[in-house]
Symmetry: D2
Subunit: 364 residues, 4 copies
């Protein structure tokens, strides 16, 4: 089977998640479109990146990401570094002819995201912004149902991403640095909200909202709230926060159409709630465990009722990218491209600026 | 036991709910602060109101509400009529020395609500705006926990009221008439959202949002969306809609503080979800069925585990009013006064106007 | 409207529940089949029964139940006394020509239950054993669906009734007295399990189980466990306990047929869980809030989404009895007759005896 | 790092689950106690086993399991074949000095299970019966809490394993063959019920129940029901069935003690429901998502709120076995040994025989 050399930037959370996925997809998504060959991994801490190379089976480790860019054995550059390291390495890798995956948010703001998109698109390589929640089986099933018109005309989409770890003034991480992260809850969490909204319900036409920083002196926002309108006429609310005590990692959304409704809560990762109009006697949301043979991604896994986990979303996502490369398919619409990464950033920026504003997106 | 004469305006949905409550509180909230004596009931349809008098046991029926205002046997005037009939009868009854209950929303807008409040407050009678969801056992328990500081400093409050019956262009009801109803989902549902928000989390300082009418030609709004800030520094979202297919009557809210969180969904009427920080091993929301002896209102009902229903919120509410009258207690803060009805209307009006705006309330 | 005189034996828990229901049904189930006239209430504690008469509006109180039996104004004798007072007053009232309602369990064992049934059936009056959970809207809806064949051939029925208050050696109540109560968790709770099983799934053909007393010296059982077979070939388990810490009052059952399944948990009183085979994509249990217009009992109450409470099951039940009396209808099959009370007792006795045994019921 | 050669018997469902686990544990449970080296895989279908070797990366495939037994590079023999192939290959591998893992049920009945245990124990190798549900994070957490006495004295344990695929007379699989499978729902599902019961609540002292075959002519049972008593005095019910329409794979259990209660449902794989006595105001089950740093197995995975899947239970299980081998630790009590496999079989056989019987276990 054909192989593709992988160069990974980042060895911590995302480095682990992506490396695991490259291993698993080689035998789970059988036959794999390409067999990933883990060539090199880069990171700033030489000792840590060396350990990661051993652990995950990369041929070498380096503290200089340019080594990966220069390595001709690498066909796919996967950027899981901090936000401030998204632009230059990703653009340079693409310019070196490598296909590129970049973690979300694409850039630290819409301008930077636009630039990354433009520069990379110009090279002609495949590009994917790694919004992995598009690859949750329940989310993909929702997309398929909406696309098939099963919800009718959409009236509402509401979404919130609730985490709880930010409420500690003594915490210090690159995620609180404006220079390194760009934004706070907006870039980290609202970007997921906006992406899943665009994935399921199309473009946003206007937002009305604001950002909030609870901790005095923190450079980035802690939470953001918005009322939103979509181009299809539906309306709803968006929220992202690192201060929602009670929730570790709750991406929750609901979409209501004239024929039905769908709801999802990542705290019940395997399930989709589906409502369909019609029978007023047996009327209500059905709890669908998304693991049937006919469900997205299920053919690679286990019999119905045996669920996959959060880490497996990356198996689906990176399989999708390898399939696009191997068979010269579009990365869109099931995965986010860099254009999606940019469009997401425009909405995030508009919320961060506050007040009410119509949205218009720049084009290629 | 001392009695109080009741004059009821309205015989349909709210007339039924309030009449049932007057009957039940007489033996359930034993001993009752005052025994309600059902004197007269008024409505525009003479035949229907006559039937209601027979059914609910009022001494007489009338199609002229002034009869109630003039009746010296009536000590409490209870206004359950359409919104356009809130102002004049209520003010006139108060001026005739009767205590007054008025269904929500108090007036059709903030101006009318302010006028009702001012005119009635001047007479010195007791006044209550019938936001009955303050009297759901789970909601009252939440209030008690928040008041006791059990959630710490509040970071977030989000609330939505989702119904589904509005999505039919052929529907015709006074609720779609601007003259009779004032607003649509805003007056009907957002008023509940704002009242429960103020009840649990205090005054709103700014809103950023808009109203939406889906059905062409409809005079009132079908939905409204807002991002909100509270005077205590917390932030969140509000939503009200009659187009949320899948939900008949879902008032859902969640409040997150630095020490814990509480959530409620009227589709699980008897339950409160409570999260308390501390133990990371047994960590999560606890589903509390609010029917323990120590829980609000439970002493009047059944043993733990035997729940009350939606209609019983009116038993609690009207008991509260009779207790205030009998013992000359303040109606606030556990029930909404006409001042609360007015303040609620200011927030609703600001959302209806759209855009971002700071709120300031007029005073007595 | 025609009236019927009510004589009530018992003034505490069941006396309150039934008295409330007689009041409410007079205006809620409009027009009522008969208007209940609360004539007399009897109990052993003269002071307490006098207070109950005042509170609930009975014309008189008495500490001698024979007064009720002798009162010609009383057309319906309602027995809510302790189990040891079920047989004689009920039989005597029936022999005096009064229709009779008796709380469950009918007698303290199958022999006594059989005797009550036989003696009362001989008089020709209407008789109802007050298994009120048949009148939970969700339970009635389940019955209607099963009766209509919507579940296909039944494979399984499992049910348990979990309470938690018995785990205290210092507790003293008539419920722990073999003479007064007959059994413990079996008579009190397993009787509900067996009745709801028979209501939904027909006769039990064999049981295999045992009773358990945890507290040394307690005269009655604390819990009982059984594997069961039904005449229709389905199998399952039964459980009743007063030692299930965590549950105040959880009657939980599930029924699986070849076409679908239904589940209920009294801790979510308003809801029914319904599964229907067919679509493997949207596959799972649907949470039905049983308050739609087309749902059982809903026509008497509120719009969809506004739920009734536990106490309202008695409104449905006593309405059913008055309707049977007024219109000379059978009490069965929607309510339990004394025959049902007896048949239930045979199953309970078989479980109490332990071991495996086939069941055969005695006939009239 | 030290390696261990793996010989795998079976390439389908369990072969895939175990092979995946050997791959993942090598980098996830870092540093692994031993690095698994996938030496050989055996199966009856030569073509299929050849493909499996390629897919999962075994050095060779064979259709003769004796090849694995004879291979000196193999240090761990993992038996994932059908039940009729458990005894001989497992015993022979152990006699060849290999450590052995055998899928559940250990043998086709208690006699065969006893023989496997005896023969293998005599060789001194490590042996594990692969009851993987002991390695669900929520189940392990429950075990830790019970072991720490957090539930007090146990009163009840009830468990059922509900699947739905058996209700089709045309189905044909080795699982319906008495010769190949031993039992039906009892061996396949009740064995899990009994093992989790013994894991959490200790030995069973008596059972009272029966097996049921719905499909005429089927050689094995389709369902089984039992009332049970434990040596610690607690009581409950067991159920296993392949006819519970509505449930794909629902292992559900609840344990009630004098201080608290715990419940689990595999249809909510990541969660544990925990009740603790004490506070009557905030009283109820807490939904714990078992992914906190302090939770079992979490240190190998992701931050809190990012859940693992069903397949990952095998990572935990096989890591446990490698750790026992590498560090000469006992496999018990956190994993099941062959003794546990045998004891489980005694309970299953007693249920299959029907009627009420006390249990006594044979000893080594």
């Amino acid at each position: 089977m054909a192989e593709i050399g992988i160069g990974m930037l980042g060895y911590a959370f995302m480095g682990k998640a992506h490396s695991n996925a490259f291993h698993k997809l080689a035998y789970m998504t059988w036959p794999p479109p390409l067999v990933p060959n883990l060539v090199g991994i880069a990171g700033r801490n030489a000792e840590a990146v060396e350990l990661a190379a051993t652990r995950y089976g990369y041929e070498y480790a380096t503290d200089d990401w340019e080594t990966l860019v220069d390595d001709r054995e690498i066909g796919l550059f996967d950027n899981g570094g901090p936000n401030s390291l998204h632009a230059e390495p990703t653009i340079r890798a693409a310019q070196a002819g490598k296909h590129v995956v970049c973690e979300k948010p694409l850039g630290r703001d819409a301008d930077e995201s636009y630039r990354i998109w433009q520069e990379v698109a110009r090279t002609g390589v495949k590009h994917m912004c790694a919004f992995n929640y598009r690859f949750v089986p329940a989310v993909r099933l929702a997309r398929e149902m909406i696309e098939a018109g099963e919800l009718g005309e959409i009236r509402h989409f509401r979404c919130r991403y609730l985490q709880d770890w930010g409420d500690d003034p003594s915490l210090d991480t690159w995620r609180f640095s404006a220079e390194q992260a760009g934004g706070g809850a907006i870039g980290d969490l609202m970007s997921h909200v906006v992406d899943v909204a665009r994935f399921l319900n199309g473009e946003i036409s206007a937002v009305s909202g604001f950002a909030k920083t609870f901790i005095v002196g923190r450079e980035v926002d802690d939470a953001a709230e918005a009322a939103v309108e979509f181009e299809n006429g539906s309306v709803g609310t968006f929220e992202s926060t690192r201060f929602a005590h009670g929730h570790r990692n709750a991406l929750q959304w609901e979409i209501n159409g004239t024929k039905g409704a769908i709801a999802f809560d990542m705290e019940r990762f395997a399930d989709l709630q589906v409502f369909r109009k019609g029978d007023d006697r047996v009327r209500g949301f059905t709890t669908v465990q998304v693991s049937e043979e006919s469900h997205p991604f299920a053919q690679w896994w286990w019999p119905p009722g045996h669920v996959v986990g959060w880490g497996d979303t990356f198996v689906h996502e990176l399989h999708h990218m390898l399939d696009a490369i191997a068979n010269d398919k579009d990365v869109a619409p099931y995965a986010a491209t860099f254009e999606d990464g940019y469009r997401c950033a425009e909405v995030c920026d508009a919320i961060a600026r506050g007040g009410r504003q119509a949205l218009s997106y720049r084009s290629l």
